[in-house]
């Protein structure tokens, strides 16, 4: 009994409204078996979460927190570190390349996310129809994501080649002007975004497909009886019910595109000039090519804060009504 009531007490004390309202206080019973069950019920969540907690803690959270500590040091990984307080952070404020790479990354995220998400939803809607051959198409659309990223990035370098690449052959054959793609300071970033959209759209489509399959058919049948059209159905049924999936896709793909690295590393090395010098590539350069690991850690902490804010924003506005009842 003590355990339960103390729980209830703590909950009242720490309960933060919408966040974690838990076992209600009126559950204090004298019935022993009922109490044991209550105990089990209050312990169960912790037991369920425990294994993952150990894993995430040990292999992700602690290394991430170590990065925060490193950010207060000057450290080249080869000699003992020196504590420098906030020095690295102050330096970042005066680093034009860092500031430029923040803008570049934001631009990249904007190029990437809307197009990728909308196309993924549209493909999922098309593929969710019961037509012959859909299984094959599903597999084909997922193919870009199945490939080893390194191998596929080298292929794209060749696709984009300004004198003998496929894209330019295509453009000039239909009378459009040739583009410079990766060789042009203005076209390189969109080209990198294009490759990532190509690679990740099918992946995101998978989640939308799974989400669509979770929507009960009778909802559509009912609304058809009401005489609503397909477009209205999409906005009144499909989209609201896809909201949890949408939140997942948006949060994870925004996190991923803020950290874009592989394609830039293989295809452009941040160039030409600084046109594709995205933030995560700059972190890599500072850490491993310039031996400023403390500075790289401070850059990472700033990135972390930015992504965290964007994610909280998304959870608030996209995920607002995730816990509705399907009724």
């Amino acid at each position: 009994m003590g355990g339960v009531s103390s729980h209830a007490h703590v909950d009242l004390k720490y309960g933060d409204g919408g966040m974690s309202t838990t076992i209600s206080t009126r559950t204090v019973h004298s019935d022993k078996s009922l109490m044991r069950e209550k105990m089990a019920r209050s312990l169960a969540p912790y037991l369920l979460v425990f294994p993952s907690f150990v894993g995430v803690m040990a292999f992700m959270l602690i290394p991430a927190l170590a990065v925060i500590v490193i950010s207060f040091f000057k450290w080249n990984m080869l000699s003992p570190p020196n504590y420098v307080g906030l020095h690295n952070y102050v330096d970042i404020l005066h680093d034009p390349i860092a500031l430029h790479s923040i803008v570049t990354t934001a631009y990249y995220v904007l190029l990437n996310i809307p197009l990728q998400t909308v196309v993924a939803i549209m493909l999922a809607l098309l593929l969710n129809r019961r037509l012959p051959g859909m299984g094959i198409f599903r597999a084909l659309f997922v193919l870009p994501w199945l490939a080893a990223p390194v191998a596929i990035s080298v292929v794209w370098q060749w696709v984009f080649d300004p004198t003998s690449g496929v894209f330019d052959a295509l453009l000039s054959s239909i009378g459009l002007p040739r583009l410079q793609w990766l060789a042009s300071p203005t076209e390189a970033l969109p080209a990198v975004a294009l490759v990532n959209i190509w690679q990740w759209t099918g992946y995101n489509m998978l989640f939308f497909l799974a989400g669509l399959q979770g929507i009960p058919k009778y909802l559509y049948e009912a609304s058809e009886l009401d005489g609503s059209g397909k477009v209205r159905q999409f906005f009144s049924i499909t989209l609201p019910l896809l909201r949890p999936t949408l939140l997942f896709v948006l949060v994870t793909s925004v996190i991923g595109s803020f950290q874009v690295f592989d394609t830039v590393y293989v295809m452009t090395q941040g160039g030409p000039g600084t046109s594709t010098n995205v933030y995560n590539f700059y972190i890599f350069q500072q850490g491993f090519q310039f031996f400023h690991m403390g500075y790289a850690a401070a850059l990472s902490v700033i990135l972390f804060v930015v992504i965290l804010l964007v994610t909280l924003f998304q959870m608030r506005f996209v995920g607002k009504r995730t816990t509705y009842d399907l009724g």
Partner: protein, 269 residues
């Protein structure tokens, strides 16, 4: 009419998805001196399986494939079991610190792994796990934030009445989970299984850093070994990439058939 438009859109989309592979498969069948000849989709003069023979002879590709398969299968099993347990708690149960813990999980994704890999590597050193399967499996086998997030979002959409009914029948949490939630979650669990499998199959940087010996290499690291300082042995690399891709395609076709058909049969949705 609508169907015709659907198919046209799908065929165009499919071509865009596939065309780089056509090049890589064609390249994998060419001798080195035909790789860049003439235009993009030029056919090899004689399809040449020599590249495939070469890659299996020059590196221990079979061993790499087995290693990768082992790591991927164990990761999938762990992720599905532990990930779904945790996700269920996050989605359906109330407990103190729930949101804080969940946010902490997500926040680990927001620090670039380029910098976290140094502390992680040093930790592996003190655990004595460098160059072992433990180091390859441990970070995913207990459930990852992405996996848990995915399942949590799906569990949130399952009607609460279904559970309540079970609870009134006297079912405990675990039984409710196994008997009610799991059967309804087959599509999403399969999706999770696929994405976990593929991402551990293609995982590159961490395996490269944390293993040293040839016996421990994974396929992704093996493919990259055909890269040189200033260029790439394209024909070999594409042959290796094709070999690595094939199992994934087969797996995907198998999985999605199972998933889709199981949903359509139950008719519940």
């Amino acid at each position: 009419m609508g169907n015709v438009v659907t198919y046209i859109v799908l065929i165009i989309g499919a071509f865009i998805s596939v065309f780089p592979y056509l090049w890589s498969i064609l390249t994998s069948l060419k001798p080195e001196n035909q790789v860049f000849s003439s235009h993009f989709f030029s056919l090899p003069t004689h399809p040449d399986w020599g590249n495939y023979v070469h890659i299996f002879q020059s590196v221990d590709l079979g061993r790499y494939l087995l290693n990768t398969l082992f790591v991927a299968v164990v990761s999938v099993a762990g992720q599905v079991v532990f990930g779904s347990l945790a996700a269920y708690a996050f989605a359906r149960l109330d407990f103190r610190g729930k949101n804080a813990i969940f946010l902490a999980y997500l926040s680990t994704l927001m620090v670039p792994n380029i910098v976290t890999l140094i502390p992680l590597f040093i930790m592996m050193k003190y655990l004595g796990w460098i160059n072992t399967y433990y180091a390859l499996i441990a970070p995913t086998v207990l459930g990852t934030p992405v996996g848990i997030f995915l399942l949590r979002q799906f569990f949130l959409t399952i009607p609460a009445e279904l559970e309540e009914a079970a609870r009134l029948d006297g079912a405990g949490i675990l039984r409710t989970f196994v008997q009610i939630i799991i059967p309804l979650s087959r599509p999403i669990l399969s999706t999770l299984a696929i994405i976990t499998f593929v991402s551990s199959w293609n995982n590159f940087l961490w395996p490269l850093i944390v293993t040293n010996s040839d016996q421990m290499k994974l396929i992704s690291v093996g493919i990259a070994s055909f890269q040189m300082q200033y260029g790439t042995e394209w024909n070999y690399m594409m042959a290796a990439a094709t070999v690595a891709l094939l199992p994934l395609v087969i797996l995907f076709l198998f999985f999605q058939r199972y998933v889709i058909e199981s949903i359509q049969l139950t008719g519940l949705k």
